[in-house]
Each structure stands twice: as C-alpha cells, then as structure tokens.
C-alpha cells in the first residue's frame, strides 16, 4: 500500500525565514520518531527573493517529492507564482496565511479551506524581535502534535550565536504560534521511536567518504555540490585530512591524482560543468591506474542549464565522456541514506581497482534533507594487491588485472606513473602488444571483479519491470506500490552499479518479465539507450524519460506503466 504521508509547503519572501522554519519542524518531527523529507526551493534572486520549504512527512523511509500539498503556510504571497510548478494545490489543501495579504485568486479558486491569521501582528506583539517563521513553527508543531519544548530547544540551538533577545523572541513566538494553531483534520503519519538522523544526501556522501578513508579533498565550488565540500572541510580537519580549494576543476582533479599517487585516498565533488572539465584527467586516472572518486551532483543541463534543479542528464558524460577507451566505475546512490553506502563502496572500489569512480548523485538526493535511520555502511574490505616485490612492475599483467600499487616512500619500487601507453614497467610504449595488453588489463580488472549483491536494489515481482538509477529509485518504488493497489504487480530494479553494467545480474532480476520500462529524469533517454546498447533484452523495452526541473512523478510513472501493461 502506498504510505500515509502529509505534505506541507511553507512559503515567504526573502528574510521571512521559511527555510529555518521547515528545518526545525522536520528536526522536531524526527526527534519525535517521525520520518520525512525537506526540499528547499528558491526564486532566481540570489538572496532576498522568495523561498519555499517543501516538507513531506511519511510513514516509511521512502522519500519522493510531494506531488500535491495537504497544507500550505504562506507568510506572504509575493511572487507566489514562481512556485506554481512546484507547489500543487487541490480542493483539499488547507491554506494558512497572513490575514493582511489578499489571497491570490489562483489559490482561492482551488481550495476553500483557507485560514487567515495575523502572523505579522502577533509576532510583533509577542516580542520586539519576534518573527513570523517562529510563529509558524509553533503553529505547525502543534498541528503535528509535537512537544513545544522540543521546538523551543531546537530553535535555541540553531540560534546559539545570536544575542539573547533573539532566542527569547523565538521561544515566545513558538509558544504563541502553538496557541494560535487552528483546529484541523490533518491525517498525520504515525511515528515510531527509533534513533534517527537528520541529514542531506550531500552530507551522507561526505561522511561516507571520510569513513571509507578519504583524507584529501580538492575541489572547486559549484551548485549543488558545494555543501558536500563545506561539510568535508570541517570533517577533514577532525580526522586529520586536508581540503584544498582549487583554482578550477582541472586543478582539483589533478590534485586528487597527486594525493592518490602518494597513497592518500582522494575525493572531489562537482556538478555537470565541472565534470566536463575533469574528463581529460579522469582518463589519466584510468590510464595511469590512479584511484580517485568523483561525486557528481547532477543538476539541469545542458551547459549552465538550471543549476538549482535536479536532473539525471549527466549519465552520458559519466559513462562515455572520456576520450579513448577508458573503462571506469560509475555508481549511483539510490536515495539520501544510500549516499552513505554507495559513496563508501565507490571509494573502496576505486582504491581497490585503481581507477576512477564517478558517483552520480543529483540535486534532489544531494540537497534534500531527511530523517533517516542509522544508515547502512559499506563494510567490504578489499585485500590490497600482493605487496610489491623486488622486480616491481607497476603495471604487471595479473589474473585479476589489478597490479600491486607502490607509493612514494615504499623502498625499492620506484616507477613513473604514465598516461602515455606503457609496458608493464610503466615505460612509454607504442608497441602493439603493450597496447592490447594494457587496454585489456584495464577493462578486465573492472569486468572480472565480483560486485556481489550490491549492484542494485530489486523489489516486487510481476511481468513488468521498471529499471532506473539514483533518484528515480524511490519514484519507481512508489509507483510500484500504486500499481500494486491497482492489482498490477511490478518489479523494480534500481541500479547502483552503472558501469561496468552488471549484465548477468540484471538479466536475472528481469527474468520472466515481458515488459521493461526504463525510468529516468532526462530528455535524451540516456539510460534507455545505454541499457539497450549494452545487453540483449528478451523483454520489450520502453522508455519513460522526463527531464527536470519538476521531480519525477510516481503517479505519472504508474500511469505510464499501467498503459504499457494494458497494451
């Protein structure tokens, strides 16, 4: 059954503090044992423009964007139109808004459940530093049945660096807001008592990188990857690593290669435009067999595109963006919590297989904040390639394709890593046999490796399957639940490992299916063409590809799949 959920949008002009309100509400909800997701939306203004906190409180830890809002709290209606794409209202939506601001017709035409309150006046009268967002927080907390003390404590913690009167005002406003809370018939998802985390996908990735041994990060800021880096700056300091803010992405990736050559696991994070600048040197990582992990948090493309919105359109460049034959790893976290496992696994694979790993996250997974259970870790420990011996050959041909990797300081294993084709020793070579052997070695070490069961997440059964990756996963899984309610059994295959494609495992997961719908958030059907090109399907393949900026809709996916089944 599709899970119970409650979706809440909080909107306001810049400075209204609706984002903080949403964050604190979700934290309090999580602390009380609830589950939920917070997305943030902003207008094009850099600062001071309108913004929206988009919450979805759920029964289980499956997080998709809300398709329809149950509750809208509007601090004001300035530039509300900006969010029409994002905030869909229905006749059931409860709107709570500032009484001084006339409700737009677009809204009053849709719903008649409108409660107006004197937010501004109440905030002012409660305390001279009183703010409407804290009033709204109290009100919403009350509606959700959260303890007011918990809201106050979380707010005070957030405001630690502010002067006393601010904290005082916040507490008073929260309490006043709770008192103002209107009666409502909101259907609130159940909560349970387990320990919970409040974290974004980008933070999950950063934490996992450190846990997997990353000790050098070199990067250049870019939306929506910068917050991983900002978290890592503090994290690295705590674990005794280094972060270098590079002059550009070309420097960033090469600094990583330098550190990795030195034996220190290295990591960078970027988004499409930055990844494009890195591809030449990712090819160098492949050719010189220098491990590196690149987190690519996808945003709308092409070119500068839509930097603040999610899309899955960097699959092509991640898979095929290098010149020459440059096999490497591409993985995708399936959801926010899975950023921990997948990033950790990527780092370990890159280190073990001595290659580049691209982790394809996206803005939705990366920048949304969620309440999650203690996340699964990647606990695999891969044995280091047998220690270098006296007649050390850096690129020795081995059965696994992996050669022992000496690093500077190791006695007597001196070699020069090279992006020129080379022989086993590393000496540049244009010989036919060296080229064939080294090309084969670099491919074989990836394809012959046993990735086990972690290559994807398979659920459900039936003759129809959906296949997708990354942030399509939850949308597919929710669509499958909807279909199940309609009596249509559907399998879902969410791919974590994209390259090398686990062809056999995927085929097995699909065996018995007749129809396969490839689900992805882009325009060019990138995953569809990739899968079709890499393996033979017994099934009829269909493509469901819808680009951003609007999140993938489980409802529409379900409709489409139902349609294919009907055929």
């Amino acid at each position: 059954m599709t899970q119970k959920h409650l979706s809440i949008a909080i909107t306001g002009a810049g400075g209204a503090g609706v984002i903080s309100c949403g964050e604190l509400l979700l934290q309090a909800w999580g602390r009380a044992g609830g589950r939920g997701l917070l997305r943030k939306a902003f207008g094009p203004q850099i600062r001071g423009g309108e913004s929206a906190a988009l919450l979805k409180l759920t029964e289980r830890e499956r997080y998709t964007a809300a398709e329809r809002y149950d509750l809208l709290v509007a601090m004001d209606w300035d530039n509300y139109a900006r969010f029409e794409d994002e905030i869909c209202l229905s006749a059931d939506t409860l709107v709570i808004c500032e009484e001084k601001k006339p409700v737009p017709e677009a809204v009053s035409a849709l719903t008649s459940h409108i409660v107006t309150l004197p937010f501004a006046a109440e905030a002012r009268s409660t305390h001279q530093d009183g703010r409407v967002n804290m009033l709204a927080l109290g009100l919403l907390g009350k509606l959700l049945g959260l303890p007011v003390d918990s809201l106050c404590e979380l707010a005070a913690r957030k405001l630690t660096k502010k002067p006393d009167p601010y904290r005082e005002a916040a507490e008073l406003c929260i309490r006043r807001g709770a008192a103002l809370s209107p009666p409502s018939e909101l259907d609130i998802p159940p909560r349970s008592e387990a320990q919970r985390w409040y974290i974004s996908g980008n933070q999950c990735a950063g934490l996992a990188a450190l846990e997997a041994g990353i000790r050098l990060v070199a990067a250049y800021p870019i939306t929506p990857a910068s917050d991983t880096l900002e978290w890592l700056a503090g994290g690295l300091e705590a674990v005794g690593g280094q972060l270098i803010q590079a002059e550009d992405e070309l420097a960033a990736i090469n600094m990583c290669l330098g550190a990795a050559f030195g034996g220190v696991p290295a990591f960078t994070a970027t988004s499409g435009p930055g990844l494009a600048l890195m591809t030449e040197s990712i090819g160098l990582a492949v050719a010189s067999e220098t491990p590196v992990t690149i987190l690519n948090v996808q945003r709308g493309g092409p070119s500068t595109g839509i930097p603040t919105k999610s899309e899955q359109s960097d699959l092509n460049i991640a898979l095929c963006g290098m010149h020459g034959d440059a096999p490497h790893l591409v993985l995708a976290p399936l959801d926010i919590a899975d950023c921990v496992f997948t990033t950790g696994w990527s780092v370990k694979l890159a280190q073990h297989l001595q290659t580049a790993a691209i982790v394809l996250s996206d803005q939705f997974i990366g920048q949304s904040t969620a309440i999650i259970s203690d996340p699964d870790r990647c606990n695999f420990e891969f044995p280091a390639a047998s220690a270098a011996s006296g007649d050390y050959l850096r690129y020795r041909l081995t059965e696994s394709g992996v050669s022992a990797l000496a690093t500077p300081g190791d006695p007597g294993c001196r070699f020069t890593a090279d992006g020129l084709e080379h022989n086993e020793k590393g000496t540049p070579s244009a010989n036919n046999s060296d080229h064939q052997q080294q090309l084969q070695k670099r491919l074989h070490k990836l394809t012959a490796f046993d990735y086990g069961d972690s290559w994807g997440r398979v659920s459900g059964d039936g003759q129809v399957a959906m296949v997708g990756f990354g942030s399509s996963s939850a949308a597919m899984e929710e669509a499958a639940e909807r279909l199940a309610e309609q009596g249509i059994a559907v399998r879902v295959v969410a791919l974590r490992l994209l390259s090398p494609l686990p062809v056999n495992a995927l085929q097995k997961a699909l065996s018995g299916c007749e129809q396969v719908v490839v689900v992805e958030q882009n325009h060019g059907k990138q995953l569809y063409h990739y899968l079709k090109g890499q393996m033979d399907f017994e099934q009829t393949l269909h493509s469901y590809a819808v680009p951003g900026p609007v999140p993938l809709s489980p409802v529409q996916i379900a409709e489409r799949v139902a349609g294919e089944v009907g055929q």
Partner: protein, 276 residues
C-alpha cells in the same frame, strides 16, 4: 641520507627520447647532480610533470614519478605534497606546458606557496608538437607555419608573473651550465615554500638560433633580491638571461600545520552530529 650515491646513480635505465643536443639532457644532469649533492633518498623523491619533451624527464630519473597530462603537472604535485608533506616533490615541464595551457596553475601555485620546487624548462617553443610558438617565443619568431609572421604577441615573462603572483623563491638557470643549475635546484629544494626555477633549455631542433644563448646568458653578479620592488625593477626590464637566485622571500607555507592529532573517535563524533 645516502652520501654514497653519485649523480649517475639517480638516473634510470630508460633512454631519453630527446634529440641529440637538446638542452633537456642538461636539466636531467643537473637534477641528478643536485640529488646526489643533497644525498636525497630516491624512495622519498617524486618528480611530477605534464606533457612535452621536457615533461618526459621523470622517467629518466630513478625516483618515483608521475607523467600526467598537458599543463597539469603543478596541480598533481601540489596534491601530492599536501598529502605527503615528508616527500621531496619537484614539478617540471616545458614553457608550453607551464605558461600556456598550465598558466593558471602556475599563478595559483605561486600564491599558495606549498613547499615544493617547480622547474620550467623553457625553450621558447613547443618542441614535442614540432615547433610552434610558445608564450615565451620572441614576437618576431618566424619558424612556425602556424604563425608565419611571428606570434606578434609580447612574450610571457615568467619571473615577472611569478613575482606578481607571489612566488617566494625565483631562480634562473641555463642548460649550458648544468653545474650552476644543480646548485640552484638544491637551493630551491631547501627553500621553505614554492620555489620557481626558470631553466633556459635550448631546443636544438626547432630553435637552433638558441645556441647563441651561450653568449648572452650571464650569472647575476648581485645577491638575490629580497624585496619585491627591487625584484620587479629587475624582472620588468631584463631580457631574461641573468642566471642565479634572483629573488627570495619568506612567507608562511600552505597548508598551515594542523594543531593536535585527530581524536580516535573523530569519525563517530562527526556521525553523531547528525543524530536528532
């Protein structure tokens, strides 16, 4: 320290691909001489380069080496040194590699002042790609079909740019005098911070006229400048053929030393912060 090693012991057994008479041989000799002079441990030495005739050098030295892509050697070297501060790290490459495609990293490496050496082997030409003009080629250099009337652009002044960008040690050497160059490399290694050695290294094949450098190059008589004004007055006016240590300055190296050792449970602590 292994005092017993001679310069030739620092050479690998790979035969250079360089043309007979290429200045880069002298740079190789100077590097191995400096190594021997300092008695450096081969296992703790790393040479990092980009792409070009000059950038082939690391494989010819019996140390650890990284032959990267065109223009990015400095970035690789900086990452390595930050990750492994105990290593001796030398980045090197050509004028095309360092001043054309790699120019941005050059400026930012000067600013960053990581404790390492950068040797730019300047022959005022792209040797590897068969003789096109580089940023340091004379404006009226007519030998490339790509710029048949000469590049027509004011040459790049490596020392002036290094100074303006904040380099803390600037020297110049000449392939015709490998002994002096060896001494300069040794000094560069010992300087705490980013040391830039501008090594004039002739390309006999595409710039035979550089044989004339012999008669133009001269050792700087004065001691190294220690104030940027003094250095600027030199670098903005010179023809670029004075050799020696040209400028030195002390400035904090990057990264600053980290305070205390990390706590054992640092990772758990980090994770704990996400608990609500």
């Amino acid at each position: 320290m292994n005092k017993a090693l001679k310069a030739k012991d620092y050479k690998s057994d790979i035969k250079p691909i360089w043309c007979p008479g290429c200045g880069h041989y002298s740079v190789l000799n100077a590097i191995t001489k400096a190594m021997a002079g300092l008695g450096l441990d081969k296992d703790n030495l790393a040479l990092v380069s980009g792409i070009g005739c000059s950038s082939r050098l690391p494989a010819y030295v019996d140390s650890y080496g990284f032959h990267g892509v065109h223009g990015r050697g400095l970035a690789v070297a900086q990452g390595l040194k930050v990750a492994r501060p105990e290593l001796t790290v030398i980045a090197l490459g050509g004028d095309g590699d360092g001043f054309s495609i790699g120019g941005n990293h050059f400026m930012h490496a000067c600013r960053r002042n990581i404790n390492m050496v950068y040797i730019a082997m300047d022959n005022e030409v792209y040797g590897m790609t068969k003789g096109q003009a580089s940023p340091t080629s004379p404006e009226d250099w007519l030998s490339s079909k790509l710029t048949p009337h000469g590049p027509g652009v004011r040459p790049f002044k490596p020392a002036a740019v290094a100074l303006a960008s904040g380099a803390t040690w600037i020297g110049r050497a000449y392939s015709g005098n490998p002994n002096q160059m060896a001494g300069l490399i040794a000094e560069a290694i010992e300087h705490p911070g980013f040391s830039f050695l501008h090594a004039l290294s002739q390309c006999i094949t595409f710039c035979p006229e550089q044989t004339d450098w012999k008669s133009i190059v001269k050792e700087r008589a004065e001691p190294a400048c220690t104030h940027h004004d003094q250095a600027a007055a030199v670098f903005f006016n010179e023809e670029g053929f004075d050799t020696g240590v040209l400028y030195t300055q002390q400035r904090a190296v990057w990264p600053p030393q980290q305070g205390s050792a990390p706590r054992e449970d640092a990772l758990d602590q980090l994770a704990a912060k996400f608990r609500v």
